[in-house]
Symmetry: C2
Subunit: 352 residues, 2 copies
């Protein structure tokens, strides 16, 4: 019997308990300091109040202070289930309490922006553990279209598991494949994580089409704005290709589950597209942040604002051309100034 310890009892970390449990793992689910109510509910009635599901019997809940007990000496795999905002806390905990180099699978995904460059989050985690463990901690990360509430009730779901260690990625895919969960291995860390990060950013732009429709006069035939959404979606795919190439990833991942697949599902709902809808209504980014989305975490906007400098540095050094990313540049401008999002239609689909 293998044991997985999931750190972070939010919806995505907790939903991953399902395939692990169904493949015979003992699952230990450890809350952060934000998860106290969730952990109390699971401890008393096995019900996850944010997923709104009863978890399988072999999922044991542990409170914030019980990480050491949860890890024990027999944890075979750590699932890092915190949000990107929680990653520093989690790394601090692991540095303190992880006694041997336990392999880590991350659901936290995306890119960490440094001044002139973007680093994948799995590489950030890997680097932070080097001091204590050298390079002996295997790291992998999950990307792809996965709404947690659907996975939690065993809806069909496909993902990518990416690692620099091909054997580790393959092993995890074999260990997690079920009738409803279909992970596929990749070693293209940069390509997968670039898509995982920027699909949130581009979902903002696709969401614009709905909001714009709301604030223009109703047409004689009540036409919607699906043509516009489609060309923005497609331009987003083109720009994901440009960004992935510039960062050194494989463009095959752009039309894989981390790219087109996840962009598709991210455009159906969620906070990124909701921000886009508000921008389409003519609000500026700061008006949205002070009004309808005050206090919300909007991953695509946070990424865009953090990555803007690195993107401009890539343009300055010739790694990326302005002509290949007009949508990115318009969106970055809307996220950093007091102007509404201006779609550069005539620049779309001109080149790669």
């Amino acid at each position: 019997m293998k044991t997985v310890t999931i750190i972070g009892a939010g919806v995505m970390g907790s939903a991953m308990a399902l395939p692990f449990s169904d493949r015979g793992y003992d699952v230990r689910l450890v809350g952060t300091h934000l998860d106290s109510e969730i952990i109390a509910s699971i401890k008393t009635k096995h019900f996850h109040p944010k997923l709104n599901v009863t978890l399988p019997a072999n999922v044991q809940a542990y409170a914030h202070g019980e990480l050491v007990a949860a890890l024990g000496s027999d944890t075979d795999l750590i699932l890092l289930g915190v949000s990107s905002a929680g990653i520093s806390w989690a790394l601090d905990q692991l540095s303190q309490f992880m006694q041997q180099p336990i392999p880590i699978l991350m659901i936290t995904k995306g890119m960490h922006a440094e001044i002139n460059s973007l680093v994948t989050l799995p590489d950030v985690v890997s680097n932070s553990l080097t001091e204590k463990f050298g390079s002996s901690v295997k790291i992998a990360a999950i990307a792809g279209p996965c709404i947690a509430g659907e996975l939690a009730v065993r809806r069909q779901t496909g993902t990518i598991i990416v690692s620099h260690d091909q054997g580790f990625a393959r092993q995890l895919c074999q260990d997690l494949e079920t009738d409803y969960y279909h992970p596929r291995p990749s070693i293209d860390m940069i390509g997968v994580e670039t898509c995982a990060a920027f699909k949130n950013f581009f979902a903002i732009a696709v969401g614009w089409a709905n909001g714009y429709l709301e604030q223009i006069p109703t047409a004689e035939n009540k036409a919607k704005n699906n043509n516009a959404a489609a060309i923005i979606f497609d331009q987003a795919v083109h720009e994901l290709i440009s960004l992935t190439k510039a960062l050194g990833g494989q463009i095959e991942n752009v039309w894989g589950m981390a790219g087109v697949g996840d962009l598709y599902v991210t455009c159906q709902a969620g906070r990124n597209s909701k921000l886009g809808t508000n921008l389409g209504r003519g609000l500026t980014y700061s008006q949205v942040r002070e009004g309808p989305m005050k206090g919300d975490t909007i991953e695509g906007a946070d990424l865009g604002r953090a990555a803007a400098h690195a993107i401009k540095a890539m343009i300055a050094d010739g790694t990326l051309t302005k002509r290949s990313i007009p949508l990115t540049l318009s969106l970055l401008s809307a996220l950093s100034t007091e102007t509404s999002l201006d779609m550069p239609w005539k620049d779309f689909h001109q080149t790669n």
Copy 2:
């Protein structure tokens, strides 16, 4: 002043009157024998009863028998606006009444299935005019995400104009670009038309996810089926790449407007996804054809049934592998047998 004669007054042909009119063309809109009511309405009150819009003043309507008058001696461009079912009729009319080699822009798009091969419709049209005109008739075709009712009220729309004659495609794009209509040129006839045809076919599969959701028990947390739709969508993109490669097209068009862009908009609504929804509910194809969609034209299904033999021939001669198109094969099976659509989840995203 240039003149365009549009043959076929259905929604898409008629919607194209907008960018032509706005770019200063005189537009002559000729109905087929199916369009009598539409033409009568436009003649009396300039209102198109299927688009539900008032057409611009410089659009003149012509009835079924008035093609010769519409063509006159001054038509600069013919827009072939009939459906694929009407193409034989239109070719017959052109062979009879076209006196000189007038350039043709087609909105009819896709592939014509011969026993062991698939031929693009523009090439079918081109071949049929060779006897009378040699190769002197320039042919181009439009593809990409375009809902006619949106174009008809000047919603933002992007398309591809494809022709073996690069200069002709470029000229048409220049002549048609407006503030809301953004055509882009391509010379990859096979790539564009493969995408244009098969996106309808794959939209059936994406539609499956909604119907399947309806017929399974409601989950504890009322989860939907978006993860499934996303991996089917992404698998469809992979299989469009495999089919495009096998037929000799450029895979860049798969992530262009004719591919991913049009697949995106086709999955939002329409008869192809409605067929998929019915298959997801557990009906067989013939049950759908005898029941909820009796008499409907379903382009993706018609293409699949017509192309099945050619696809099998490509597998037999090694041009295409079964492993690269599991979704295509499952869908072809569902369209040709009395079994419901069986999604081959474990075969998805295994290879290209």
